[in-house]
Structures are given as structure tokens and as C-alpha cells.
Amino acid sequence: MRIGLVLEGSYPYVSGGVSSWTQTLIEAMPEVSFEIISIQPTEKRPEDMKYALPANVSGITHLYLTDVGERAKGRLKWGAEDEQNVSDWLMLKSPNRQALRLLGKEVPSSQAFFASEFFWRNVKAAYAEEMNGGSFIDYFWMWQSMYTPILRVLHQPLPKVDLVHSVSTGYAGVVASYMKETQGIPFILTEHGIYSREREEEILQSYWIPAPYKPRWVRFFHHLSREAYNAADEIITLFERNREYQEWIGAPSEKTKIIANGIADRQIQATVDRTEHDFFQIGAIVRLVPIKDLKTMIYAAKILQERHRLFKLTIMGPLDEDEEYAEECRLLIEQSGLTDYVELVGKVDVQAYLPTFDLLLLTSISEGQPLAILEGMAAGIPWVATDVGACSELLYGREDDPFGPAGFIVPPVHPEAVADKVEWMMDYPQERMRFGKNGRERVRQYYRLQQVVDRYKAIYETRREQYGGHRV
């Protein structure tokens, strides 16, 4: 079986959650062949890869989003019904795979499409519908920049596969929906973060998009997500809160499903028994980037120091992803007089460090389902983490969870709350050990890599059968 894995802006050129998940999934299914369909804003070279491709990767198909300036040849030959379909899609009215097929197969060139009277009529109609007299040329160019990447990804050669698995909505979702439509194959969607919410935040914060255009850009990305939700046979996400978002955006609940991240069995350790030591050892497994909000963690450390607690906080993670931010953190530690308490150790072998910790900390302001928490829980270490992403679900358990808490959840950007919970952990070693044990049991029960792989395998098999088996 050959599976087309559609990835947008990530694997194998960017490291991080989605990419390592992808690498793990491919490696865990050596009998399945994967074709990587990598959507990139600009050209990538083999030396840009951050991962060594496993042997069962048949190849990488690159789809670039930027316009190549092709010649405007040919004309649109659409009937009224075709035009209505595409028109509704461009107007972001409803998902419509027929429209995608037309945009992909029945457009001679993207230049011809943008030069067509059909496109012109739609821009004018949409402008009349939603604008209150803003600059028309800007509006026109917004439309073009909105739909250029769509046409671009649909007009590049796509591989023939037995099943398409997209690891986000957005352009990747569009490509997967289109492949399902044109090749008659099943489409599996796994969403780690909620794409349309991420784009929404990016758009609202951006200064380069004029304010009047923001609502349309936001609606556009919601529209792309709805298209993927509508086309996908299965909509998978990592945890319950994301599943609710998906439903809220428009995913039919009967298609949604949770498959969490998993931890390899070798990482699930025997009990760590460390009751006697000089300092209370705290660990943080984290990339030094603003979204991880290391400063809250450092402020919490300052509070603990002021309360005359003895502890050692070890922050493990690459310092080179956002050097400016890493430097700010280093300065903050220095200026707060915390150099004896807090240490930035850079990228290290986390597994070797884990057994030395009494407690792990996470103060992110945004997360999906952090692998770090699973790793810590697997090692039997309790957590204090912020109430983002799946943290609460991991530490407190989902409904009907028999194991009890594996740590504490605190509100984001709240150093005092973090300090209070750390102090509590220092003062109640027995409880702390029990939290660690709870976590390990929960991981052993629900978050094992083998389970994840087995469930994906089953989904691939069932859907493949349902759509008529092997073809490629």
C-alpha cells in the first residue's frame, strides 16, 4: 500500500512536533510505503532536510505555493452550473469538491483564470457584498493572492497513491480533498493544532494585512478547513479540546476521533525512588521560543528564591531557534540573581537527565499535546503545567480515568500560581511520588506508541478495503 502523506511547511524541512510525529509514524510502519507531499512557500533543496528519510519513503513530491509566472494561455470553458460551483467556493459559501476539481482540472493556467471575466465578476460581486468602499485594487489583489496558492498547488503534478493522509487542513487539506476527488481514494485527516485557529491568530496579530481585509482572510482559512472536514473520511486529533474546536468550525462529529500521541515502551520506566537529596530538582523540557513563555517560569523561580526555598531548575532545549529570546531569558536569569538556581543546559539527552528530577515544569501559552509531558509521565515524574492544549487532559485524565492526577494545572502567565504549586510539591513528597506513579500508569494504559500505530494501521486497512483495495 502506498500512502500520500500531505504536509504543509513542516516535515522533513522543519523540526518540531508534527515532524517528529511524522518520522515516528513512518518508521513504525516499515511495510507501508509513504510518498511525502511537502507543501512549501519556496524551493527546498535536499540539504535543507532536518530528518533522514526512512527507507519506506518512496519519494518527496514538492508543491510550491508561489506563482511561477506562467503564460496566460487558454480560456475557461465552464457552463452555468460549473460557474455556480466555483463561484460559491470562491465566495467561501460552502465546501465543494466539485469546485476543486474544476479549479484543478478545468483551468488551463492560473494566469488565464485570473484574467478571466468570470474571476472579475466574482471579485466585483464579493466586493459589493462585503466591503464599504475600500480600495478596490487592494481588494482585487487580495483575491488574487488568496487564490494563487490554491491554483498553484492544484496545478502541480500529484502522485498516484492508495490513500491520502493529510496532517493539517489548509492548503494540505485542499490538496488531499482534491486527490480524493480525482483519484477516488480515501482521505484521512490528522490535525495536531487547529489550523484555522492558528491562522486566525496570525492574521489578527499581523500588521501587514489591512484591517478591513482581516475578516475575509480569517473566513478564507476557516473555509479551507471546512473543505477538508467535509472531504475527509476520518478526522483525527490528539485530544478532546481540539475535537470540540473542530466540531465548532464545522467538522461532522461522527467523523471525528481522538488518537493521542504515544510513548515507546522502552521509555516507560520502573519507579524512580528519590526521596533524599540536597536540592529540590526541577526540570523543563522546552524549546526556547516565546510561545513557551520561559519568562513566567523564571519569575516563578524568583518567587521561590525570595521565599528562601532551595531548588535547582534545569532548562533543557535548543537555544538556537530564537536566539534573541534565548538571550533575553539568559539576561533575565542573570539580573534576577538566579544564576545559582536556574541553568540553561541547551540541547541534551533528555532521557539521561530525567531520573534526576523531582518535578517537571511547563509554562507554555499554547500547546497541542506536548510529547514532553508524556515523556515525563512515562518516567514517573509529576508535573506543574499551564492550562493549554491537552495538558489538563494528560495530567488529570479524561472522563472515567481510574488513575488520579499526575500533577497540577495552573493558569497561563501566572508565576505565583506556579511557585505555589512547586512549593506544595516540595512540602508533600509522598503525594508527589503518588502523582508520578499515576502519570506512569496512565501513559502505560492510554498513551503507548504501539497503540497509536495499531490504530492508524487499522484505519488505513479498513479505508483501503472500503475504497477497493490496492491500486498503485
Binding site: G69, A72, A115, G133, F136
Partner: protein, 482 residues
């Protein structure tokens, strides 16, 4: 998901349209001023020649036809580069690269001189005229060719005054020298007339040349042939320029082989009836040429700029549509006004043709043909104006279509009616120009209706064609121009 960003792009950042409008208008139409002077000069010289009792009709005709040939063929040579270079120079002005214009002038000059020399050497080999006459005519032909080229650049730089004075002074010197010759010589010939006229043209040439030096103080000679790339980019402009000029003369060329043709001095084909009629007919459309410049410069230009300004500088759709309506209705009114004014002149000329024929004392056939060719000249003037308008709106496709029709129909109808003899001369020209006039009008109406769509869509109709001429330009730059 690691960021795939997006950003809004603007293609049109500044008001490019106005500068193009002006360039086309003046290269296309300010010609009428100098033309008028030249025609008056030739007319006066002819009249002077009438006053010379010893000068034979054959000698007078030889002089006249020599001058005509020099003008016709230099204009055709010029048409190969005119619109393309005009566009290139307009773009350089717009991009504030005025310092790159002078090399284009020398480049175009070199190409023109080479082409003219090749063309003339063919004539030299075939013609039995004596050496001195051929040499003088060669000097005149070259002078006129160079005048066209400088004329283009000075018009683009809007240095009209210098142009007008040069032509005026040159013209007066032409007349003066012919007058002096007629007084001093006991037995003047066509050679003396030609010499006198040539002297005046050379003076014009130098006047323009000094104006060039003053207009373009920065004079490099680097990359003189870079403008060749515009032949790749705007092959349609090239075709429009050539088809229009050939379209005008193709009827003459065909009729030179028809009934009533004369061969002058074993060198020039000539049709005394048809050529004379055409010459007078073109005088009748001078009002259009003047009025059009005024109409464009004043009333139309404002609306045109508003329309494109709203598009480029962020006008709302309803503002753009309103500006489009205003522009369209002003344009319509101006065209009607123009057609009416010219119509009156043309009608007057046609009605009075008989009277003038009797008065001047030329054969009646000329009067008959004149009525037809005057009608044709009217339509021809309108075709020129509509072509220019289509070019202002960047409808090169439409302008090309109009000029293909102009050339083809003129050639076709003239050929078809040629066997019917002299009574039908001019009819083909009149019919075909009238048809083309209507086609051009329909095209403009159609295009104006959707001009806003075309402005936006045109940006996506980029052509990525061949690079043949660009490569040739680069090669020539390397070999001959540093």
C-alpha cells in the same frame, strides 16, 4: 504549523498611464505641424517653379516625385521602429531613467541610417539618373530619415518649440534658396530645385540636432541597442506601426501599376492623377490632427487620469465605475465633435472639388478621384485616432486588429478594382477605410464598456514570448556599443 505567510502585492504602484498617453499622442500626431510646414514649402516651391519659364514640366515632376519618394519611403522605414521606440522612451522617462535615452537615439539612428543606405543603394543601382542627382537625392533621403528619428525623441521630451522653429527656418531657407536659384540661373533644372530643398532640410536637421543636444545633456553611447528587447515585448506595436503606414501607401503602390501610370526618368513609378488627388486629400484632414491633440490634451486627459488614478490609488469600485462613465461620455462627445468638425471640412472639400479643379486647371479625373480619396482620408484620420485611443487603453490587440484590417482591406479592394480602370480609382480606398473605421469604432465601444476589467485582467495576460530581438540587441551592444 510553521508559517506559510502571505502578503498582498500591488502591481500598479504609480500612475504610469498618463506618461504613456502623452508619448503616443505627440509622436503620433504633433507630426501635423511639421507636415504642414513641409507641405506648404513643397507647394510654394512648386508655385515658384511655375514661374520659371525655362523649366519643363518633366523637370518639375521629377523634382516633385523625388521629394515624394523620399518622404514616403523614409516614413515606411521609420514606421518599423516608431511605436516600439516611442514606448521604450516613454517607459524610460517614466522610470526616471532619462540618462538612458540618448543611447537609444544613437542606436535607432544607426539602425535607420544602415537600413536607409541599403534601400537607397538598390535604387542607385537600378536608376539611370546622373550621378550628381542621385547623390543629392541620397543626401535628402538620409536627411529626412534622420529628421524623423530626432523628431520622435524631441516630441517625447515635449520640446515642440524647437521642432516647430527648425521646420519653419528650414522651410524658409528651402524656399529662399530655390528663389535665389531661379533668379540667378538662366536654365534651372530639377537638380537645382532639389539642391535648394535639400539645403533647407539640412538646416532643419541641424536645428533639431542642436535641440537634441540641449534636451539630452547626458550623452553616453552605452547599450545603444537595448531597446531591441521591446520588439520582443511589444511585437504588436511594431506590427501596428508598419501596417498603418503601409496601409496608407499600399493603394498608391498598387495603382502605380495600373492605368495612367507614368515612369519618370526611368526611375520612379508615378500616377499623376491618383497621387495628386491623394496629396490634396491629406491636406483636408489637418483640422482633425490639430483638434484631436487639443481634445486629448484638455478635456479627455483629465478624465483619463481620474479613472486610472482611482484604480491605482485605492478608489472604491463605485468611484471607479463612475469615473469610467464620465470618461466614456467625454470621449464619446469629443469623438462626435471631432467627426462633425472634420465632416464639415470634408464635405466642403468634396462639394467644392469641381470648382477647384477648374480653378487650378488640372484634369477632371483628379477631381473625381479627389472626392473618393477625401472621403477615405476622413475615415483614415478617424482610424488613426481610434488606434491611438486603443493604445492609450492598452488594447494593443484591438489596435492590431484594426490595422490589419486597414492594410488588408486597402490592398484587397484596390487590387480588386484596379482592372476597372481610372474611373474606379480611390473607390477601393474609400470603401475599405470606411469599413475599417466602423470596425475600429465598434472595437473601441466594446473595449470601453469593459475597460476596467481589461485594466485588471491585462496584468495577468503577461506574455512570455521569444527573446530573439533582446538577444540581437545584446549582441549588437557587445559588438558596437560597449
Amino acid at each position: 504549523m510553521a508559517g506559510i505567510g502571505f502578503k498582498l502585492q500591488k502591481l500598479f504602484q504609480e500612475d504610469y498611464y498618463s506618461s504613456r498617453l502623452k508619448a503616443y499622442t505627440f509622436s503620433g500626431l504633433v507630426t501635423s505641424g511639421p507636415w504642414l510646414i513641409v507641405i506648404l514649402v513643397v507647394g510654394t516651391i512648386q508655385w515658384l517653379a511655375f514661374q520659371m519659364p525655362t523649366l519643363s514640366l518633366a523637370e518639375r515632376t521629377l523634382f516633385m516625385i523625388s521629394v515624394s519618394y523620399a518622404f514616403i519611403f523614409s516614413q515606411i522605414l521609420f514606421s518599423f521602429q516608431q511605436l516600439v521606440v516611442t514606448r521604450y522612451v516613454a517607459d524610460l522617462f517614466y522610470e526616471k531613467k532619462a540618462h538612458e535615452i540618448f543611447p537609444v537615439f544613437t542606436g535607432m539612428l544607426k539602425v535607420t541610417i544602415l537600413a536607409a543606405a541599403i534601400l537607397y543603394s538598390i535604387f542607385w543601382m537600378l536608376s539611370p539618373l546622373d550621378f550628381l542627382y542621385k547623390l543629392t537625392l541620397f543626401v535628402l533621403f538620409m536627411t529626412i530619415n534622420v529628421i524623423w528619428v530626432m523628431f520622435l525623441f524631441l516630441s517625447a521630451a515635449k520640446y515642440y518649440q524647437a521642432v516647430a522653429y527648425s521646420f519653419l527656418v528650414g522651410g524658409l531657407i528651402s524656399i529662399g534658396s530655390v528663389y535665389v536659384i531661379s533668379r540667378l540661373m538662366t536654365d534651372p533644372s530639377s537638380l537645382e530645385l532639389l539642391l535648394g530643398f535639400t539645403v533647407g532640410m539640412i538646416v532643419t536637421l541641424f536645428g533639431l540636432f542642436f535641440a537634441m543636444l540641449r534636451t539630452f545633456p547626458l550623452r553616453y553611447a552605452v547599450k545603444e541597442f537595448s531597446y531591441f528587447k521591446y520588439f520582443d515585448r511589444y511585437p504588436d506595436l511594431f506590427a501596428i506601426g508598419v501596417l498603418y503606414v503601409l496601409g496608407i501607401w499600399v493603394t498608391n503602390f498598387i495603382i502605380w501599376f495600373g492605368e495612367g501610370r507614368v515612369i519618370i526618368a526611368d526611375s520612379f513609378l508615378f500616377n499623376p492623377y491618383y497621387d495628386t488627388a491623394i496629396f490634396w486629400s491629406y491636406l483636408t484632414i489637418i483640422p482633425t490632427q490639430l483638434l484631436f491633440v487639443v481634445a486629448v490634451e484638455t478635456r479627455f486627459y483629465e478624465r483619463y487620469r481620474t479613472f486610472y488614478g482611482l484604480i491605482n490609488y485605492g478608489g472604491a469600485l463605485h468611484q471607479i465605475e463612475k469615473a469610467k462613465q464620465t470618461m466614456t461620455s467625454v470621449l464619446k462627445n469629443e469623438l462626435i465633435r471631432l467627426a462633425r468638425s472634420q465632416g464639415v471640412v470634408t464635405l466642403f472639400a468634396i462639394l467644392m472639388a469641381g470648382v477647384f479643379v477648374g480653378w487650378i486647371g488640372v484634369p477632371d479625373e483628379i477631381g473625381q478621384i479627389f472626392r473618393m480619396t477625401t472621403l477615405a482620408a476622413f475615415a483614415n484620420a478617424m482610424i488613426l485616432i481610434l488606434t491611438l485611443l486603443l493604445l492609450y487603453f492598452e488594447d494593443r490587440r484591438g489596435a492590431l486588429f484594426v490595422n490589419i484590417s486597414f492594410f488588408t482591406l486597402n490592398a484587397l479592394f484596390t487590387l480588386l478594382l484596379l482592372p476597372r480602370g481610372i474611373d474606379w480609382y480611390g473607390v477601393g480606398f474609400a470603401v475599405s477605410t470606411t469599413i475599417t473605421f466602423f470596425l475600429a469604432g465598434l472595437r473601441l465601444i466594446y473595449y470601453m464598456g469593459k475597460v476596467d476589467y481589461y485594466v485588471f485582467a491585462a496584468a495577468n495576460r503577461r506574455k512570455l514570448g521569444t527573446e530573439r530581438f533582446s538577444q540581437m540587441g545584446t549582441l549588437l551592444n557587445r559588438r558596437f556599443s560597449r
